[in-house]
């Protein structure tokens, strides 16, 4: 534990600024500035409040939006799945009863909580932000401390606006240099997870730094922070800088005028001090990162597109060999094969990792003047109604539709297959989402995580392939 005078990290500073009190054993009561709610992990929390006769302590620090279960097809129709409908109706009843601000399903501002929060300026630098969803880490891209919580904690925050937390350890991931053509924030993050493993960040908060991270736009930084949880860390963050301030300025819920200036002055103080201590440090050379994807059923099963799928013979550890064997069989792959050239059945461009306008532009650039291979089901699911609207204004929807993509309404969709958008048994999918767990996109589905441009390339070639081959001058 650091002394107050010693150099502090970004995480230490935000943490210190939110401690209400510290208990004897070091557990802190941490104040929460923003609490986002969605329909899947909140009903039992509201039920708890109701049973105890407690109000929501600060509706003005809370915001709700339905995303996991929402249909991404025609919204004028009733929601077919009874249980999904009940969950959404329950959220609507709860926000009404407890006075929580909410974007309804038919609002063009509706979307995935982790896209909507930053887009609206509901999530801001320097804040503590929580949501009953592990990818809350996304908001750390703004220079906030943002992390996912369980439903009991959702109830605790609703009732008290605080959480009982222990300070995490600091981990620095530094990515230096310049990424090559066809390489994106997603590839950087896959490379990081490939290096740290999915448990490498357990107990840590990751700060992303280095020239390659500084060079990323906010969408790219959100992609990094989003998948911190896949590296085992509860939160990921990037120190706020001019890119951040320019992004935040003018957003509907951001401070305005003098309050904005006051906020920026504070936000500028949030960078890690020189000499601040990190418990773990990882350094990557951006120039070495290639367009990448996953071959297996854990996000750490990462390889470059020009690499070979591992073989159980490569390891002397019998448990590891067994895991590789099991994974290859689940994924329908052979040890040592190339992934490039492997046919796909589906392509999913969406999710809180990669569904922002920048992601759709990158995908559209590959799709333009090409056609989706007829055997492939390809869909684009924008992260919010506003992203969808912006894309339509830029004519991106036309590029996707003309090529044969489905152009859908905002929501989580095939990222987790809670709504009707699911993979069928043993279908292979190039997906811009964040989890390739067994059954994640539908029972027995086979997911390859990759960037939007790599997913677009898979759609138009019908196979997993190196996006650089479709980019002029990239090779």
């Amino acid at each position: 534990m650091h002394k107050p005078s010693s150099p502090r990290t970004l995480y230490d500073k935000i943490w210190d600024d939110h401690v209400v009190l510290t208990l004897e054993d070091g557990t802190c009561l941490l104040y929460i500035d923003r609490h986002l709610l969605h329909e899947v992990t909140s009903p039992q929390a509201f039920e708890g409040l109701r049973a105890a006769g407690r109000p929501v302590r600060r509706p003005g620090a809370t915001f709700a939006v339905a995303d996991h279960n929402v249909p991404t097809s025609d919204r004028s129709l009733p929601i077919k799945d009874q249980q999904s409908r009940l969950q959404i109706e329950t959220l609507e009843r709860n926000v009404e009863e407890f006075g929580v601000p909410y974007f309804p399903l038919l609002s063009r501002k509706q979307g995935i909580a982790h896209v909507v929060g930053p887009e609206q300026g509901i999530s801001l630098p320097g804040m503590t932000i929580v949501c009953g969803d592990s990818h809350t880490s996304t908001h750390g891209a703004l220079g906030s401390l943002a992390f996912g919580i369980g439903t009991s904690e959702v109830e605790h925050v609703l009732a008290t606006q605080t959480l009982l937390q222990k300070r995490a350890k600091n981990m620095l991931v530094r990515v230096e240099g310049q990424i090559g053509p066809g390489v994106t924030a997603k590839d950087i993050m896959l490379a990081i997870i490939g290096r740290t493993g999915t448990a490498g960040g357990t107990g840590y908060v990751i700060e992303y730094a280095g020239s390659a991270v500084r060079a990323l736009d906010m969408a790219g930084r959100m992609t990094l922070c989003n998948m911190s949880i896949e590296a085992g860390a509860r939160a990921g963050m990037v120190a706020p800088d001019e890119t951040t301030f320019a992004y935040v300025k003018g957003r509907p819920y951001a401070p305005k005028g003098e309050a904005f200036e006051q906020a920026v002055a504070y936000w500028r103080s949030l960078r890690s001090d020189d000499g601040a201590h990190y418990d773990k440090e990882v350094v990557l050379d951006a120039a070495e990162i290639k367009p990448s994807l996953t071959w297996g059923t854990s996000p750490e099963d990462v390889m470059a597109i020009d690499g070979l799928v591992p073989s159980p013979d490569e390891t002397t550890d019998p448990a590891k060999a067994e895991r590789i064997r099991r994974t290859l069989s689940y994924m329908g792959l052979e040890a040592g094969q190339k992934l490039a050239g492997t046919p796909v059945d589906a392509v999913f461009i969406g999710s809180c990792t990669n569904s922002r306008i920048e992601d759709l532009r990158a995908a559209a650039a590959i799709v333009q003047n090409r056609k989706v291979v007829p055997s492939v089901r390809a869909m684009v699911v924008p992260g919010s109604g506003l992203v969808r609207q912006q894309a339509e204004a830029e004519g991106l929807d036309k590029i996707f539709r003309d090529a044969g993509f489905e152009w859908r309404e905002a929501g989580c969709s095939m990222c987790l297959g809670m709504n009707p958008d699911k993979l069928e048994t043993q279908q292979r999918c190039a997906s811009t989402s964040n989890r390739n767990f067994e059954g994640r996109q539908g029972p027995q589905g086979r997911t390859h995580l990759c960037s939007p441009s790599m997913a677009a390339a898979a759609a138009v070639t019908g196979t997993l392939c190196d996006v650089r081959e479709l980019m002029e001058g990239a090779r």
């Binding site: 209400v20 009190l21 557990t27 009561l29 104040y31 899947v40 992990t41 009903p43 039992q44 105890a52 407690r54 509706p59 003005g60 620090a61 915001f63 279960n69 799945d81 249980q83 999904s84 969950q87 601000p101 801001l124 804040m127 009953g132 969803d133 592990s134 996912g148 919580i149 369980g150 009991s152 904690e153 009732a159 008290t160 606006q161 605080t162 009982l164 222990k166 995490a168 999915t198 448990a199 357990t202 949880i229 085992g232 509860r234 509907p252 819920y253 951001a254 401070p255 309050a259 904005f260 006051q262 504070y266 854990s298 987790l416 809670m418 048994t425 989890r435 767990f437 059954g439 029972p443």
Partner: protein, 207 residues
């Protein structure tokens, strides 16, 4: 919350790494607005075939482990989604304690909040306990939270660490929210700090 003091029960061995919460309970079973009744969906994709019949090879379907109260796994248990449905499903099935070499952070704290004790122990010890568990029905383990030790079927004891805050909460079955609300005065003081003035309300756009 249900108290946890001492538990003597059968332990189920599940020697897998990276058991994510999507495996513990797949997303399609999250469309509930209740906490209860999820035990039947625990490990659904490993436990049942496509017709919904039990797969006899899966550990929790074997006669010796149908009433298991402890689950022992390999590294990185509970990674992935924050869904509290995972501990709810374990709890509803009858599991009160999980043991693994490493346990993902959110799942770890979700367990405590539901009276389920998560224990992190080095891999070799987990493997010893896993071997005990493999002996089946009569190889009971005792988990004593008060003394912070596990008693093996042969009587040997293995100490474990647990966060003192959560140990106290589990032993007493305390409800965190009522405890925190006792500190309301301090929360209000915090809210009035001047350096928080720039933070806008979510009630109505701030234009």
């Amino acid at each position: 919350m249900e108290k946890f003091t001492r538990l003597t029960t059968v332990a189920a061995p599940l020697p897998q790494e990276n058991i994510d919460t999507d495996q513990i309970i797949p997303a399609r079973f999250l469309k509930t607005i209740q906490r209860t009744g999820l035990g039947k969906h625990l490990f659904a994709d490993q436990r049942y075939d496509e017709q919904g019949n039990e797969k006899p090879d899966f550990v929790l379907n074997k006669p010796a482990y149908r009433k298991a109260g402890i689950l022992i796994t390999l590294d990185n248990l509970g990674c992935g989604s924050s869904r509290e449905h995972a501990p709810w499903a374990l709890q509803d099935f009858g599991i009160r304690c999980v043991i693994a070499p490493s346990i993902a952070d959110i799942f770890h704290s979700n367990c405590f909040k539901n009276g389920l004790l998560p224990i992190r122990l080095p891999l070799d010890i987990c493997e010893t306990l896993m071997d005990d568990a493999r002996q089946g029905e009569n190889a009971r383990l005792t988990v004593d939270l008060e003394k912070q030790q596990i008693i093996r079927p042969d009587g040997e004891t293995i100490p474990f660490d647990v966060d003192p805050f959560w140990r106290h909460n589990l032993l007493e079955g305390l409800d965190n929210i009522s405890q925190t609300l006792l500190r309301e005065g301090e929360i209000e003081q915090f809210e009035q700090r001047a350096n928080r003035a720039w933070i806008p309300s979510t009630e109505g756009e701030n234009s």
